[in-house]
């Protein structure tokens, strides 16, 4: 498979995996192994002073996986920037999944605050991968301020609804000069394959893997689907037709 290149860095795998919602660190570690991913997202939260805290980083081999901290929980640009700088202080790396989601019900990203934060963070040296609604103009504006990718949503986070934003995603993919990572809402490997067949450069999956009865096997299924979709896209799929187009010759029938 051809390589995915983000901000000059090459990746063999086009599946990014989120680490939320796993029942245990062991299940998470097994799933990211089976997914073949090279990029895993993590979130920043307050330490629970009263209780024991799991150390998720001890379950992620950072020599194998690029850690992509997100700014989840941020309700505006200022909160996202604060989280970004904390994440950088913690990891020493500048890669960041920028997300600004003021509404907890649909978790839809705020385009104005996301653009504002992206502009500041790019100037501050961050490699910014912004989570956005599937808005082609916003995608261009983010690209113009120097984000490393755009990450439009397929449907609301964790909803498993698949490619609800298909028409807008097609426009984003057609126009983008940075990798397009379809993020959020992919509930099945077939959704991921579909996005890849459309020409998405990568997909990010969390809930569908983490909440499956067998996360490791589901991770493997997504891996294969992403590969299949990418290979299909590169193989030049043909257009949808209105009528039949015979596969077998329409000559030489055994009749007079």
């Amino acid at each position: 498979m051809d390589k995915l290149v983000i901000a000059g860095r090459e990746f063999d795998c086009r599946l990014l995996v989120g680490t939320g919602k796993f029942a245990s660190c062991e299940l998470m570690a097994e799933a990211i192994e089976f997914s073949g991913t090279e990029i895993v997202t993590v979130a920043l939260r307050r330490v629970d002073i009263e209780n024991e805290n799991d150390d998720i980083l001890s379950a992620i081999d950072r020599s194998r996986y690029l850690l992509l901290p997100n700014t989840s929980g941020a309700r505006d640009a200022d909160e996202a920037i604060r989280l970004a700088r904390l994440a950088r202080a913690a990891t020493g790396i500048e890669w960041l999944k920028l997300e600004v989601t003021p509404d907890p019900y649909y978790l839809l990203p705020d385009p104005v605050e996301t653009l504002r934060a992206a502009e500041i963070l790019v100037k501050d040296g961050f490699v910014v991968l912004p989570y956005i609604n599937a808005d082609p103009i916003l995608a261009k504006r983010l690209e113009d301020v120097g984000t490393a990718t755009v990450m439009p949503l397929a449907s609301p986070i964790g909803s498993n609804q698949g490619l609800q934003t298909r028409a807008a995603l097609e426009i984003i993919i057609e126009q983008a000069n940075v990798p397009v990572v379809v993020d959020a809402g992919l509930g099945l490997p077939s959704h991921a394959a579909d996005a890849m067949e459309m020409g998405a450069d990568a997909v990010l999956v969390n809930t569908a893997i983490a909440t499956a009865a067998d996360p490791a096997q589901m991770a493997k299924a997504f891996k294969l689907a992403v590969e299949a979709g990418r290979i299909a896209f590169k193989s030049g799929p043909r257009a949808v037709g209105k009528t039949a187009s015979a596969s077998s010759p329409l000559t030489g029938f055994l009749r007079d």
Partner: protein
């Protein structure tokens, strides 16, 4: 009374304040290798935890990575 606001909650230290961020983390039983800290909104690099002196009334944020998408 000596007091720090830790992760949004006031915490008293009647027996005496921890002198440094490292001491605070030890008192709280938190592994400092897993934590990022802010004091009064300013990030403290992990390598300076031991040298970072605390004073009463400061707001301390202790943050760590968790699973997330």
């Amino acid at each position: 009374m000596t007091m720090l606001k830790i992760n949004g909650t006031d915490r008293q230290f009647p027996a005496g304040m921890p002198q440094t961020l490292t001491e605070l983390l030890e008192q709280l039983g938190i592994n400092q290798a897993t934590v990022v800290a802010e004091i009064d909104g300013k990030i403290v690099e992990r390598q300076s935890f031991a040298q970072t002196r605390l004073s009463s009334g400061q707001a301390v944020e202790l943050v760590r990575f968790v699973g997330g998408g």
